[in-house]
Amino acid sequence: MQANNYRFYVSYPPYLLGRKTVSGIMYQNLIALFPAAVMALYYFRAGALKVMLFSVLTALICEIGMQKLLKRDIRISDGHAILTGLLFAFLLSPAVPWWLVVVGSGAGIILGKMIFGELGNNPFNPPLVGWVMVRLSWSDKLNDWVAPVGVWNTDPPLEIFKLDGLDTFMAYGYQVFDLFIGKQAGGMGTICIIAILAGGVYLLLRRIISWHIPIGLLGAVFVFGGILWLTDKQANLNPIFHLIAGSTMLGAFFLATDPATSPVTRWGKLSYGIICGVLIMVIRTWGTYSDGVAFAILLANTSVPLLNKIRPRAYGKEKGVA
């Protein structure tokens, strides 16, 4: 073949690019959420399907509408809207009215992401922005919990512990294994710990997330909870329950690890995870909310610009020189 008459691409280096893309990250996250979604459908049947569909569709429509309105590139295919919608649905009870799902999911996309521009500029985790908005506005509707299939108790374990104290909680006789496989009331995607763990390990193995945030968060919850438990076993919960009840696991692997709203350096990520974990325990122990994961992560989001100042020493710089 003669080398004449060709036109060439001229661009900046590098000319080889890695395989990881933004849409790849989002779709890998969706794959990782798949087991939890299946378990939500198993435990809550049609109710779960309805909420998930409403949430995802609203997120997609809001994103495309905002991108048209703001005259930005339509990037609906990158999967972030689907992920946001799904994560928002996971935090809800399957009994919430459809309009509440629409409002929350839309607020998550519009107020949580699109008004800041593109994905990456948003300071707060979009699904949590939506969740906090509906939680503060219609808390009675949001606390309308449903018992999953095979369970008679309609109250989430942490709610029982918060409102009725440790004795009542113990009287219910929660088994660690039961909580692990999801036999507890709560957000539809947060209850089945084993499914979420499987997804989280998958993300770790595919190097979509690094271990720093989940380990920092879970470690802080466990250590903080352990110290409280050891100081007063009559008033505090065994730290194991803090890990497997409520949305701690979902938060550790899927909400806190959102790249846009977490720090960039390894030490920053670890500190961020620890801050999240400590805030979760502070809210659970002394706050009014029984779960507190969403509020803790949103609060920790505000510390990200500061945590981004933690950074490795650049080559050739003396120590202590910023």
Partner: protein, 442 residues
């Protein structure tokens, strides 16, 4: 496909030329193009006119203050044109077009330098410089305008036998084929630069090269450093740290301040050839490969040969080419056309097939932190990219070590948002250098 290790433990798969390809002498080109400026440095003074006949090895351009080696005509023939040519980096550069008359005629008889080991270092240095070879950048050498006491001395000379640490077929083959000459070249360089010690860095996986170097008895003159190579270890800053265990102060430091200078295997060989044969450097060693090239080759080609002739020498293209790259796939420069010439420092021509060209649009940084993890000099490429994208060049330099960046390209390689981080960083450096020039003029 071969795996190139990257900093931080990942690796990249790329087709490299098979090892052991003999270095072929290329046929003299029909015409050559010679740019009269050296990548951002000052331009050359032209010594010939349009229409003039030049002979092989005739000096056609020189720098007024001897800060650069002179240019010689690589072929004999007629100067057909002197005009601006567009190059990928920087703007238009005045270039000289020479058409061959096919005679390969030298202007005068070549005078090989005899008993070169007994000559004075200054004399040898003069020969090397006049031959157009730079062992180390000439500004750093003592010369008549600088006094020997103010110029930094080269105590350690590091010969980079790993190139840009991207496989580097040509350097490996040079070590295999010309290790005897390299030995003499090292002795010469030692005499010229008065060094205390010479290091030769080689890739520990290149067993044939190590074997050849050992057989030649080179280790009596130079310490052979066998390295576990990852990209971008070949950059002087990182190689310095690896060999000496210290870091070069950044951003304003230079290896020469620490008494170390870096050079390449081919520079040493060219210097040796210039002294032994008495002729200027007219050719350069390079390897040619890439998915679109029919037969990968190691070549010794005339400087200024158009890329088209090189590709024809390698059997042409076997599929549609996407990019023509001089340098490595992570930090080379994409050429505008096949009329572009081979330059003195060209070591690799890599032709990327069109099907492997990624043309995604880039988007906002999503803050994943992959670039921070992989950066070998530990700057924060995500912030550098953002600051430079929006024109905050000074902030990038003050707060985020813009000038510490070595532009290896790893950050942009791993970026899931496909951000051209290296491009932004180069833009920032360029804008700041313009500002500095303006302020200096006031």
């Amino acid at each position: 496909m071969e795996k190139i290790k990257l900093f931080g433990g990942r690796d990249i798969e790329i087709e490299l030329p098979p090892p052991g390809l003999h270095i072929e002498e290329a046929v003299p080109p029909k015409n050559v193009i010679l740019p009269l400026s050296d990548k951002g440095r000052r331009a050359y003074r032209l010594l010939v006119q349009k229409g003039e006949m030049v002979s092989q090895g005739e000096r056609i351009g020189e720098a007024s203050n001897h800060s650069m080696p002179p240019i010689h005509s690589p072929i004999s023939g007629k100067v057909t044109d002197i005009k601006d040519v567009r190059y990928p980096e920087g703007a238009n550069i005045l270039s000289l077009f020479i058409e061959s008359d096919g005679k390969e005629q030298w202007k005068t008889n070549l005078v090989p330098c005899e008993n070169y080991m007994e000559r004075a270092p200054e004399e040898l240095m003069g020969i090397v410089r006049n031959a157009g070879v730079e062992i180390i950048p000439l500004e750093t050498l003592p010369y008549h305008k600088r006094s020997a006491s103010t110029s930094p001395s080269v105590r350690y000379l590091v010969i980079n036998g790993i190139g840009h640490s991207f496989g580097e077929a040509i350097v490996r083959q040079l070590l295999v084929e010309r290790s005897r000459d390299l030995l003499d070249g090292i002795r010469l360089a030692q005499r010229i630069l008065q060094t205390e010690k010479v290091y030769l860095a080689v890739d520990k996986k290149h067993e044939d090269a190590i074997q050849s170097v050992m057989d030649s008895g080179l280790e009596t003159y130079a310490e052979i450093v066998k390295l576990d190579v990852y990209y971008p270890l070949g950059y002087p800053n990182l190689l310095f740290k690896r060999i000496f265990g210290k870091e070069i102060p950044s951003p304003h430091g230079d290896a020469i301040d620490m008494g170390a200078a870096f050079t390449n295997v081919d520079s040493i060989l060219h210097a040796f050839d210039a002294i032994k044969q008495g002729k200027p450097q007219l050719k350069t060693y390079m390897s040619v490969n890439g998915g679109a090239i029919q037969t990968p080759k190691n070549l010794k080609v005339h400087i200024g040969t158009p890329l088209k002739e090189i590709i024809d020498l390698c059997g042409g293209l076997k599929e549609r080419p996407g990019r023509i790259i001089l340098g490595t796939p992570l930090d080379g420069s994409a050429q505008l056309s096949l009329e572009s010439p081979i330059l003195k420092d060209t070591r690799w021509l890599w032709v990327q097939p069109e099907k492997s060209v990624v043309t995604d649009k880039y988007r906002a940084c999503i803050g994943c932190g992959d670039c921070v993890d992989i950066c070998p000099v530990k700057v924060m490429p995500n912030f550098l990219g953002k600051f430079c994208e929006f024109g905050k060049y000074q902030e990038a330099a003050d707060q985020y070590d813009l000038f510490t960046c070595i532009e290896c390209g790893l950050c942009a390689y791993v970026c899931p948002s496909r951000r051209p981080i290296v491009h932004f960083i180069r833009l920032g450096k360029w804008e700041l250098s313009l500002e500095e020039k303006e302020n200096a003029g006031k």
